[in-house]
């Protein structure tokens, strides 16, 4: 497992001794890895133990529903699935708009288990997919870090990743989301890239493209890979580290990877059309040019080469300029410059808040705060700089990749809190390197100090044992020039020099090491401090897993003096919808609850969390911010039977619809200009008390949230906003309360059927009827009253 034969070229007398040690180390690290996997799995089970085995949050419910469909109908039906129970009346082509990796993975696991006659339910499989894949992810981290800095660093990084809170937050049991498998795919793709880079093996390059394909299947974050790897390749070329291994690591990935990515329906031609992928093609061209230049250099004499260079550069520059100009013109001609909104908001953090309120409204697309770094990666934040320094001593292709990875991911995590997830593995890898190097130094010097400087042989042994990491990187290095030497005889001399420079340096390193040995006391104390740091990290992670991230968010609990209170209102409402409404009834709610409604209540929704149609969402937002009559018109035109609102005022649940209401106004106003945000604000203040604007107090959302609320305590005191509500007594004319959950957290209203028009009443309610006829939506469907 742990690459025992690294030092074949080393001193032969130590060889037999080393194999035994290595074999033992291999078995040991195998068991450590096994335990790390078990830990990664079990630390994520807090949610099941504390709550129950249930799917969490919003998006996982959609994935769960898709998996159920897949399990029931098979793969072909899945690809062609047109879902008519969402985005009514538009529907959604699920097979073509979903990243199928997660669903296919869980579906395959389920199918496999069932064909082995282990009848687990789809739900169980879905709940435990994420923990299983986090175990895989920690193993992949081990492999990646091992390629970079050796086994010790690998094991440390794997252990760190197994319990990093940032990753736990997305992969607790039940959090059945794309990221759960995508992080594994991400790390594994990076591992295979590094492995190819270190070995130059085409086999690994092929595996790498397949792994990249899996990543493309799983998550939109694959663009990170297809941009980071070209960046690294470019870095290598610029710093003069071009080699055939680099070429093998990169070129097949672009060709095969792009072809495979285009097979995923949701990506399709985007794999070659959108700007996110341009960097990879550009670098693909560059690497070929560079390879060609090296080839020419090899066959021409230096003088001829110079002439050729001047010729080619002058011609090439002209051609390049022309091509780039055409490209820029093409890209600039499209309105978003070929970038998707989410990617653009990554490059320009203010983009979303300026132009796309729907992206800005999602809390996980906000930039993170400083405490969230401490919460999510904890002590790793302090270890990362040390790890980066360790990566520079000595800087290899692999370690430069890690440095690049951490640098870019730190930037991305600073833009979107969701991308903290990409930072987490990088932070774990660098911290793992830092920790293991520090341990090497400290344990090495302790050993040295204990055995004493007199016995040289023992020191040697101590060195070989303590610096396994180094010997490996050395081994990698000694292999490297040998292979290049075969390919490029002309470059031999240059490489040779470096090689020679290094040979004595390894000898000298032992010398240096002896000098670097720290005093016994200080190294013991530092070791203790490091262990303490690790212990602090472990305690924090377990706390985060148990307390912070284990809540499924559909069940809320609160602890008070008289025991545990469970707020199971969401499921209460969904169960009510499921059993007590007609199967084809349409339910309108804000898009947050769309996925849950389709999955748990099995009812058709107007909008859901896949926010693909801004106009449709804006329609619902407009309805929510309109007065009752107009809202009824809109909902009726959409064939809505029930309207669902989430209201936290009674129990103090802060993320309710009233608190999200301004986003509805903004999104609605973005499409329908008669909805104006200032109408809902009193002097720029969002309030619902007696100072609130009449528009606010008369809009549907206010009315549906606070209907008969005053009857609960006589005053109508909203515990979230900490005020008494502005308008307490009012009646609904076009809606009828159908159901309210135990803690009033979900309120469901039924649209009253349109009133029959009685002759005598036409005059009485003239204003009403005139508005009815003026609405084109209704008059189209209804028969005109002949007496009007």
């Amino acid at each position: 497992m742990a690459a025992p034969e690294t030092s074949t070229a080393a001193v032969p007398t130590l060889y037999t001794n080393n194999t035994l040690r290595n074999a033992f180390g291999g078995v040991l690290s195998f068991f450590i890895l096994l335990l790390i996997g078990v830990m990664a799995f079990s630390i994520r089970l807090f949610s099941v133990i504390k709550y129950e085995s249930v799917i969490h949050e919003f998006d996982p419910y959609f994935n769960y529903r898709v998996t159920q469909f897949l399990a029931k109908n098979g793969i072909y039906e899945f690809w062609n699935w047109f879902d008519d129970r969402t985005w009514y009346p538009l529907g959604r082509v699920i097979g073509g708009t979903v990243y199928p990796g997660l669903t296919l993975t869980a579906g395959t696991i389920w199918w496999l288990l069932n064909s082995l006659n282990i009848p687990l339910s789809v739900e169980t499989v879905c709940v435990f997919t994420a923990p299983i894949f986090s175990a895989f992810a920690s193993w992949a981290t081990y492999l990646l870090t091992k390629e970079v800095k050796g086994t010790g660093a690998g094991l440390t990084a794997a252990a760190l990743l197994a319990m990093v809170p940032s990753y736990i937050s997305r992969s607790v049991a039940g959090s059945y989301d794309n990221e759960a498998v995508a992080i594994f795919a991400l790390i594994f793709t990076f591992y295979l890239y590094i492995k190819t880079l270190n070995t130059g093996s085409l086999f690994y390059a092929t595996l790498n493209s397949i792994s990249y394909f899996y990543m493309v299947c799983s998550w939109g974050g694959y663009t990170f890979i297809i941009n980071l790897i070209p960046m690294h390749v470019l870095l290598c070329i610029v710093t003069g580290r071009f080699s055939s291994r680099l070429f093998i690591a990169y070129a097949p990935l672009v060709v095969l990877g792009t072809l495979l990515a285009a097979l995923v329906p949701v990506v399709g031609f985007n794999a070659v059309m959108t700007s996110e992928h341009f960097a990879s093609f550009l670098v693909f061209i560059i690497i070929h040019v560079v390879a060609f230049v090296y080839f020419i250099k090899g066959i021409l004499s230096p003088k001829m080469f110079k002439v050729a260079v001047t010729l080619v550069v002058s011609v090439g520059l002209a051609v390049c300029c022309a091509v780039i100009a055409v490209l820029i013109a093409l890209v600039a001609s499209s309105p978003t410059k070929g970038w998707s909104g989410r990617s653009l908001s990554l490059l320009d953090p203010t983009y979303a808040s300026k132009y796309i309120p729907i992206i800005a409204s999602v809390s996980e697309h906000q930039p993170p705060t400083w405490p969230s770094y401490f919460m999510d990666i904890n002590v790793l934040a302090f270890l990362v700089p040390a790890g980066i320094i360790a990566c520079f001593l000595p800087l290899s292709d692999a370690s430069s990749f890690v440095v690049l990875y951490i640098a870019t991911s730190v930037y991305f995590s600073g833009v979107m809190v969701r991308l903290m997830l990409v930072l987490a593995p990088a932070a774990c890898i660098t911290s793992g390197i830092a920790l293991s190097q520090a341990f090497d130094v400290f344990t090495g010097s302790i050993k040295f100090q204990l055995s004493g400087a007199s016995s040289n042989t023992e020191v040697d042994a101590a060195e070989t044992s303590s610096s396994t990491a180094e010997s490996q990187t050395d081994a990698v290095k000694t292999e490297k020039p040998e292979e290049t030497a075969k390919n490029r005889p002309s470059r031999k001399s240059k490489k040779k020099e470096r090689e020679h420079g290094e040979k004595p340096s390894t000898k000298a390193k032992a010398e240096k090491k002896r000098l670097l040995a720290l005093p016994l006391e200080s190294s013991v104390i530092s070791l203790l401090l490091l262990v303490l740091l690790g212990a602090f990290y472990v305690v924090h992670c377990v706390w985060a897993a148990a307390e912070a991230y284990s809540a499924p968010s559909i069940v809320l609990t609160s602890r008070s003096h008289d025991g545990l209170h469970v707020f199971d209102d969401f499921r209460e409402a969904y169960a009510w919808l499921r059993h007590n409404t007609d199967v084809d009834d349409k339910v309108a709610s804000w898009w947050d609850y769309g996925y849950q409604t389709t999955a748990m209540a099995n009812r058709t929704v107007i909008v859901d969390n896949n926010t693909w149609n801004n106009t449709h969402i804006a329609t619902v937002g407009t309805a929510m911010s309109s007065p009752e009559r107009a809202a009824w018109e809109i909902f009726h035109s959409l064939d809505v039977k029930y309207v669902l609102v989430v209201f936290g005022g009674l129990v103090g649940y802060p993320s309710d619809d009233i608190n999200k209401f301004l986003w509805m106004v903004r999104i609605g106003g973005g499409v329908f200009p008669h909805i104006k945000e200032p109408d809902y604000l009193r002097d720029g203040q969002y309030r619902i008390d007696s100072q609130a604007t009449p528009t606010m107090l008369n809009c549907l959302m206010y009315k549906l949230s606070y209907y008969r609320f005053v009857e609960t305590d006589g005053k109508g005191f909203d515990r979230v906003r900490q005020t008494e509500i502005g308008k307490k007594y009012f009646k609904l004319t076009h809606f009828e309360e159908a159901f309210t959950t135990h803690h009033w957290m979900v309120r469901i209203y039924k649209l009253k059927p349109p009133k029959n028009r009685i002759r005598g009443k036409t005059k009485k309610s003239k204003s009403k009827t005139s508005s009815t006829t003026s609405s084109p939506k209704r008059s189209g469907t209804k028969k005109k009253n002949p007496w009007q």
Binding site: V555, H579, T712, T741
Partner: protein, 590 residues
């Protein structure tokens, strides 16, 4: 049928009927005293129910009046067969009760009949608001419907302690608290009836399970797992109008109580979307009481679906008799006062059971299925029993007999063990086998040999390097000599290097022979040999230089003289050293 008596032969000397309207299940308990007035012995008594009632009849049981131990009397339903065309009025269904012994002439016999009806209470009004009370209507006859002459009869209706909206008043009608009494009436002819209607308040929840699937799975590892899937509806007055949390709704189904067997464990209560967190479990030695609340209070017409499950210790319900095992467990739902429209009981027997039969106290549909569960190969036999229209009185024990060999219990663990064992064996085989395709191809072999050669050359390279290092030492000792003039130290150094070099050349020998023997080393062999030769030469020169220097020092000749002497040798040495270095570099690149 042949013994069917002339109807007039029997006389019901006394009929005492009590109708319990205290829940949504209507129970009519009648005490009948039969007298044989005819000429011959009679063994069967006919019970008559109007068709409308008979549709809703869920359970009918006759038992002797005095006897403590209830003797089950066969209840046979043959409604059509019994009808006597000449004087039987239409719209009446008959059930015949066979008495334990024939009733001789003039003798009389008293027995109780319990008839349980479902859906017999009609909500009136049919739709009520959420806060309204629920009123129901019950219709029956004040006279006992019987094909026989009834001498004395009385009827009492027991209601809940609540409002009575209206009731039919006949002669001799009395209301005592929550009880309405009709009668006594005397000497009424056969088939006399007088309809009565009671309209009263009944706020008890009308919990009806439209479908209940019970799955009882036997594991011989010590557990019987019961899973019950309910599809529940509130069968009372439909709810109408606006909902409000403020009103509790007097007739809503807020909770259900289930009496589970005493040692029930691992109880769970959930539905399609997860656990339902509102339930209480209390247990004592006699029973386990489970109180469950549906996710939402159920008003009239509302539906819900949920699942409860629990485990029972195997020894509590599995017994052995005559070489066969049998499961003895209650048939129906443990919920109290629950009407079940359709009940399907599935008994999943362990894999490998044979000779299966089921014995139930009443008639029902029966068939067998197979279910494939954890690690099954052929699947488990499932006995399926289906019955419609059930009331709590049906909750009786039934038996499923089967044969099972204890050894088949070991099959699944053994399967797992062998599976894992073979997995490891496969791993071991894989680790030890070389799976490369081109094992015996020339290129593979050549590559392998080349690898060996490379290793050898590398070793040669190392050795030469070390040799050169010792050369350096010699040089250093010479320098020391020129500085300090200590001849002895220089000689000692020479000796030690001699020893070292000898060892090194010894190490070199096997490598060289290997290289010479290896066919793939041909192209490099010359270079290596050249290297070794040059090194030898270099060494010789160096030694010569060393000895001349030492000699010179011993002779105490002048420094210039020594240098002159050495200079020539030194030139050669540097030239050689250069060559050796070049060769080394070349070899290193192989």
């Amino acid at each position: 049928m042949l013994a069917s008596p002339a109807l007039s032969d029997l006389v019901l000397s006394k009929v005492d009927r009590r109708i319990y309207l205290t829940s949504h299940i209507v129970r009519i308990s009648s005490t009948l005293e039969v007298e044989n007035a005819g000429p011959e012995t009679v063994s069967k008594v006919l019970l008559a129910f109007p068709d409308l009632q008979a549709q809703n009849l869920a359970y009918l049981m006759a038992s002797p009046h005095e006897a403590k131990a209830k003797v089950k009397v066969s209840v046979v339903s043959f409604p059509i067969d019994v009808v006597k065309p000449e004087d039987m009025p239409p719209g009446v269904t008959f059930y015949s009760v066979s008495l334990p012994q024939g009733l001789t002439v003039g003798a009389s016999f008293t027995f109780d009949v319990l008839a349980v009806f479902t859906h017999a209470l009609r909500p009136m009004p049919e739709q009520i608001g959420q806060a309204d009370i629920q009123l129901v209507l019950y219709q029956d006859s004040a006279y006992y419907l019987s094909p026989y002459v009834v001498k004395v009869q009385s009827l009492s209706l027991k209601l809940l302690d609540s409002r009575i909206e209206s009731y039919t008043t006949l002669e001799s009608t009395k209301v005592q608290g929550s009880e309405i009494k009709y009668g006594p009436y005397e000497n009424l002819p056969a088939f006399s009836s007088s309809p009565i209607t009671v309209h009263f308040e009944n706020n008890l929840p009308f919990a009806i399970a439209q479908e209940l699937v019970r799955e009882i799975e036997i594991s011989h590892w010590g557990n019987v797992l019961v899973t019950e899937h309910y599809k529940l509806i509130h069968g009372g007055a439909q709810s109408k109008g606006e909902f409000s949390r403020k009103f509790q709704g007097p007739s809503a189904v807020r909770y259900l109580v289930a009496h589970l067997p005493p040692r029930a464990h691992s109880v769970y209560y959930r539905d399609a979307i997860g656990n339902i967190s509102t339930s209480h479990l209390r247990g004592d030695s006699k029973k386990t009481e489970l109180l469950i609340e549906p996710r939402y209070p159920m008003f009239g017409g509302w539906r819900t679906a949920f699942t409860i499950g629990y485990g029972l210790p195997l020894q509590d319900c599995l017994y052995e008799s005559e070489g066969r095992r049998f499961l003895n467990i209650t048939f129906s739902s443990p919920m109290i006062e629950l009407v079940i429209d359709t009940l399907i009981v599935k008994v999943v027997l362990p894999e490998g059971s044979s000779d299966i039969s089921a014995a139930a106290p009443f008639f029902m549909k029966q068939w067998q299925e197979t279910k494939i569960s954890h690690l099954d190969i052929v699947g488990r036999a499932v006995v399926v029993l289906e019955k419609t229209n059930l009331v709590p009185e049906h909750n009786q024990y039934f038996q499923v007999y089967y044969k099972f060999n204890r050894l088949s219990m070991l099959r699944e663990p053994l399967m797992l063990i062998s599976g894992i064992f073979f997995f490891f064996v496969a791993c071991i085989v894989y680790m030890h086998a070389d799976t490369s395709i081109s094992k015996f191809s020339a290129s593979y072999l050549a590559k392998q040999q080349w690898e060996e050669v490379r290793v050898a050359i590398q070793q040669v390279h190392n050795i030469i390097c070390r040799c050169l290092a010792t050369h350096d030492k010699l040089e250093a000792s010479l320098r020391d000599l020129s500085r300090t003039g200590e001849v002895q130290a220089c000689k000692a150094a020479r000796k030690s290097t001699d020893g070292l070099l000898k060892e090194l050349s010894k190490e070199l020998k096997p490598l060289m022979t290997f290289l010479q023997s290896s066919p793939s080393a041909v192209q490099v062999l010359s270079k290596v040999e050249e290297l070794v030769a040059k090194e030898r030469e270099l060494l010789e020169k160096l030694m010569a230089k060393h000895s001349t220097a030492v000699e010179a020092y011993e002779k105490k000749s002048g420094a210039r003289d020594i240098e002159n002497r050495i200079a020539l040798q030194q030139q050669k040495i540097t030239a050689l050293r250069q060559e050796v270095d070049d060769l080394l570099e070349f070899i290193d690149e192989i």
